[in-house]
């Protein structure tokens, strides 16, 4: 790969065709960043005009300017709520990783465990969380624990299923080689199966990051209790009751941004861990 790069930079007398291709690549690169920004600006502009021209009252649709000023004005309330939601989300994600990877390792080590428990993991996954959540809040006293349990239920399955798939995807010849060299179960797990599973696990992790946020928000809706220590979802509900639509939008924006930041962060971690060897992290020329 590095050889190819050296060659292209060393060659100076390229023909028009190649120059055109390079220009197209450059435009592609710039477009990747500028186009979404342009779309955003146009959308905000028409949103604003729509509200002004039609004289829509702010309790039906606030303009972007009002949403932004509300975001600034209500920042103390919203930021506290964000911290609560974020805390639940990250804790749920951590527990999902521990639980998902732990179960996956257990399943691949023991067929009996897998046969006994896998169907129930699937059932937990396919049952909508909004249907289970009310029950959870009846039986679990601590609100935080209840929220955490809901978010975990939503988030752990992609980690479990992806990691299980990864652990079973180790190269068969390498498995044979490990057997020939008399590797123990632990060695095979540590040196062969876990590294093989890493790209699969990281794929599951990125999905789980988004899902734990969704799980946390849905659980807050269901829990529905207010007061100190309530998260963004509750703030949205509350603002809805009070017809404070600008604050609803502001909270919604915060949730969306949080989701994007979590996804980007996990993608970055994934890139760091895989960049040296995995196909998904390698740049290809041409």
């Amino acid at each position: 790969m590095s050889i190819v790069e050296e060659n292209t930079s060393a060659v100076s007398d390229v023909d028009d065709e190649e120059l055109r291709r390079r220009r197209a690549r450059k435009i592609d690169k710039i477009g990747k960043w500028t186009l979404p920004v342009v779309v955003l600006v146009i959308t905000l502009f028409f949103w604003d005009r729509l509200v002004v021209w039609n004289e829509i009252p702010h309790y039906i649709l606030p303009g972007p300017g009002l949403v932004f000023s509300t975001l600034v004005a209500d920042w103390p309330i919203l930021f506290d709520a964000l911290l609560v939601t974020l805390q639940i989300t990250l804790m749920a994600l951590a527990v999902a990783v521990i639980g998902g990877v732990g179960l996956a390792v257990l399943f691949t080590q023991s067929r009996w465990m897998e046969m006994s428990f896998y169907p129930y993991a699937v059932i937990l996954q396919v049952t909508p969380i909004v249907a289970i959540a009310p029950l959870i809040f009846i039986y679990v006293d601590s609100r935080i624990a209840g929220l955490l349990l809901c978010a975990w239920l939503v988030a752990f399955f992609p980690v479990l299923s992806n990691t299980t798939l990864g652990l079973n995807s180790a190269d068969h010849n390498l498995r044979d080689l490990f057997r020939i060299y008399g590797a123990t179960r632990w060695q095979t797990l540590r040196f062969l199966q876990l590294p093989s599973a890493l790209p699969y696990f990281l794929g599951g992790l990125r999905i789980a990051g988004g899902l734990s946020l969704i799980g946390a928000v849905v659980a807050e809706y269901v829990a529905g209790t207010g007061g100190i220590g309530s998260g963004l979802a509750f703030r949205i509900l509350e603002a809805g009751y009070r017809l404070n639509i600008p604050r609803m939008f502001a909270a919604l924006i915060l949730i969306a941004v949080t989701g994007v930041v979590i996804f980007a962060g996990l993608s970055f971690i994934s890139h760091l861990l895989l960049r040296k060897w995995h196909e998904s992290a390698l740049k290809r020329e041409g």
């Binding site: 190269d171 010849n173 044979d176 080689l177 020939i180 060299y181 008399g182 590797a183 040196f191 995995h278």
Partner: protein, 262 residues
């Protein structure tokens, strides 16, 4: 520390296969009545059409599967590191560097990298890859990956190396070079090899014994001796002697495939 030919150079018996049958699923006879004695320094090719049980024989020797009948015995018993294996694919761990891949057989025996570093570098030097010890497999060509795989198989100085069509997936030029290098290596360290191939030319060039096998059921139909002395070089490839051996091996292979639809 260097890979010394002393214990490896001995012509003493290494392995004895006696009347081994392998039946899969109670009905499919993959191998019937295989008997073979492997002596130190032998380079034995198992040559035959697909389905003749060549790979089954290797898997039996590697103890990955067990014979339905018969016995496979290592003289003096088998110790850890007595066997090295090279598969058709390089079979490297993509997340580990070249040196870490070669370290694997030692690592699985609980040896630290520092304690076997010299052996690893020596093995890499023998296959001409000492400069690439910190590279990742994806940075190497197909032929270089195969060299790493060979270095890994040799690093424990095994009494026997099994090779399952290791060069079949490579282009002709790389294949010839690796054939030459493998013989140079054998000359240097005096290893004992069982080499599975379906190429007449490769088997004649490399081996001193060719075991020709037939399919359905997998069985040995002839054993040929290639008495040309080692080291063999490019000149051997063009000698009349080589042509004659190829002819004999080719005839035996035709005999093996008689009655089979192509």
């Amino acid at each position: 520390m260097s890979i010394s030919p002393a214990p490896l150079g001995s012509r003493a018996e290494v392995l004895r296969i006696e009347g081994v049958d392998k039946v899969f699923g109670g009905t499919v006879v993959a191998l019937k009545g295989l008997s073979l004695t492997v002596n130190g320094g032998d380079f034995i090719s198992l040559l035959g059409p697909s389905g003749c049980g060549k790979s089954t024989a290797l898997r039996l020797i590697a103890d990955l599967i067990h014979p339905t009948r018969g016995r496979i015995t290592w003289s003096g018993g088998q110790a850890a590191g007595d066997l090295g294996v090279v598969f058709q694919e390089p079979t490297l761990m993509p997340w580990a560097t070249v040196a870490q891949n070669v370290w694997l057989p030692f690592r699985l025996r609980g040896k630290s990298y520092a304690s076997v570093k010299d052996d690893i570098l020596e093995a890499l030097k023998l296959v001409g890859l000492e400069r690439f010890q910190n590279a990742y497999p994806r940075e190497l060509s197909g032929g270089m990956k195969m060299r790493v795989s060979i270095a890994r198989a040799m690093v424990t100085k095994p009494r026997l190396i099994l090779m399952d069509e290791p060069f079949a997936a490579l282009d002709e030029i790389t294949r010839f070079r690796l054939n030459n290098d493998l013989l140079a290596l054998k000359d240097k360290i005096g290893c004992t090899v069982i080499f599975v191939t379906h190429s007449v030319f490769e088997s004649v060039f490399l081996s001193d014994r060719i075991v020709v096998m037939a399919a359905r059921p997998g069985r040995v139909i002839r054993e040929l001796t290639v008495d040309a002395p080692y080291p063999r070089d490019e000149d051997f490839r063009t000698s009349p002697e080589y042509a004659a051996h190829c002819r004999a091996a080719s005839d035996a292979l035709h005999e093996a495939m008689e009655g089979e639809a192509a």
